[in-house]
């Protein structure tokens, strides 16, 4: 009995990544026999997730703990496998920079405008005759060398700075950002975003207890299915923000120190980002119907 308990304790304390999910499942029975001082009915079974999409043969999935937001100490509620081509790809900082700068600039429209000498009111008549007055020769009082005249090479009209990076570069930017977050221990996977209270203080205390950092980005799957408690708690805080999975982007991931994904979100992201690795080039835009693409 004591040997079983010791083996179970050793299993939980070993660093992640060196035991497979099968071995963990076998020993999951043993921690259940340890006396747990929990108020609710006994310890839960660990949440385990395998990768649904095929993993390349030369690589193994990278693993992460599944945490829970229901209690302060509920880290390591389970274990999930993450696809290596999404969460452990090459750390291309140049692609991150390209995508971040694209996000900053493509929406920019500058409204700076100055009037040229043709648009400034007045200035149609020659101020004095060409010869004989002794003064310098001028053709209009609104030329750029005059006070009150037009600007010669100023900003002209609303200007747009729109451009698009290739779709695969933007996709690779997302993959690199997720990789970097995981590699720097800033990515946390959660089984679901359910909180016991709607108090913003609870979230702040949780983040401080778990050493998450000053700013956290919570990502849920659908906008309509978000639990009320999380919505209320994050709307009261400035640096804790909640976005649906469709709203994930490199700029937000770099702005917030920590990223918290739910398990359905991880599956959604893997499916969406891996599709681009093995797709045909679009003969017509993807928004038009294809036979085999929803």
């Amino acid at each position: 009995m004591l040997q079983l308990v010791r083996a179970g304790a050793r299993a939980w304390l070993r660093p992640r990544g060196c035991r497979g999910l099968n071995a963990l499942a076998e020993e999951a029975v043993q921690p259940a026999e340890k006396p747990e001082p929990l108020a609710n009915a006994g310890p839960q079974a660990p949440v385990l997730r395998r990768c649904e999409l095929p993993v390349p043969l030369h690589r193994r999935p990278v693993q992460a703990w599944v945490e829970s937001l229901r209690g302060y100490e509920q880290e390591r509620v389970g274990l999930t496998e993450l696809h290596p081509d999404v969460f452990s790809t090459a750390p291309r900082l140049d692609i991150l920079h390209q995508v971040a700068i694209w996000q900053k600039n493509f929406k920019r429209i500058s409204y700076a405008k100055t009037k040229t000498r043709a648009e400034v009111r007045g200035g149609g008549r020659k101020p004095w005759q060409q010869k004989g007055s002794g003064r310098a020769r001028h053709g209009s009082i609104r030329s750029p060398i005059w006070r009150g005249g037009g600007v010669a090479h100023g900003p002209r009209g609303p200007t747009s700075y729109y451009y698009m990076l290739p779709m695969k570069v933007r996709v690779q930017g997302l993959k690199v950002a997720l990789t970097v977050k995981l590699a720097q221990d800033d990515l946390h996977v959660v089984d679901s975003l359910e909180l016991p209270t709607a108090d913003p203080q609870y979230l702040m205390e949780l983040a401080r207890y778990r050493h998450w950092g000053d700013s956290v980005l919570f990502v849920d799957l659908e906008h309509d299915d978000m639990p009320q408690n999380v919505v209320a708690a994050t709307s009261g805080l400035k640096t804790f923000n909640l976005v649906p999975a469709v709203g994930l982007n490199v700029h937000s991931m770099l702005k917030h120190q920590t990223l918290v994904l739910t398990l359905p979100t991880v599956a959604f992201l893997e499916e969406k980002l891996l599709w681009h690795d093995s797709r045909y080039t679009p003969l017509y835009p993807f928004r038009l119907p294809y036979r085999d693409f929803p």
Binding site: K107, A118, P158, M167, L174, G247, N249, S252, F286
Partner: protein
């Protein structure tokens, strides 16, 4: 503008000074004031709603089944949404899309600008 100001300053400053001292320059001209103290620091909230949510939904095409394109998120003049061009192209596009509802003076200025830029780009300089 600078010439006329120094002319006014000369009249005010040198009116009371006696003739013998007029060759001095009394230090920095009192009219061109520069501040000697730092201004109060500008308080910028890095986490207001706009800055915290910047960039959300930029990948709505990739992650959202391509139902919307990110260029549809851009807010601005109708003739500039999801499009980029040089000044002549912008003027022509504005005239085509919005010209029928512009003010008469603005439309006249736009036409003048288009003809000037056409002649400048196509008849002058190295690239024509």
């Amino acid at each position: 503008m600078a010439g006329s100001l120094s002319w006014v300053a000369g009249r005010c400053l040198w009116g009371q000074v006696p003739l013998a001292c007029r060759s001095f320059f009394l230090g920095f001209p009192r009219l061109f004031h520069v501040r000697v103290t730092l201004p109060p620091p500008k308080v910028v909230d890095r986490w207001n709603e706009k800055r915290a949510m910047f960039g959300v939904y930029d990948n709505i095409g990739i992650l959202g089944n391509f139902e919307k394109h990110p260029k549809e998120l851009i807010k601005g003049p109708v003739w500039l949404r999801g499009w980029k061009g040089n000044e002549l192209q912008r003027c022509i596009r504005k005239k085509r899309m919005v010209g029928n509802r512009m003010f008469i003076d603005d439309l006249h200025n736009l036409n003048k600008r288009i003809s000037f830029l056409y002649k400048r780009f196509n008849r002058h300089g190295k690239h024509r």
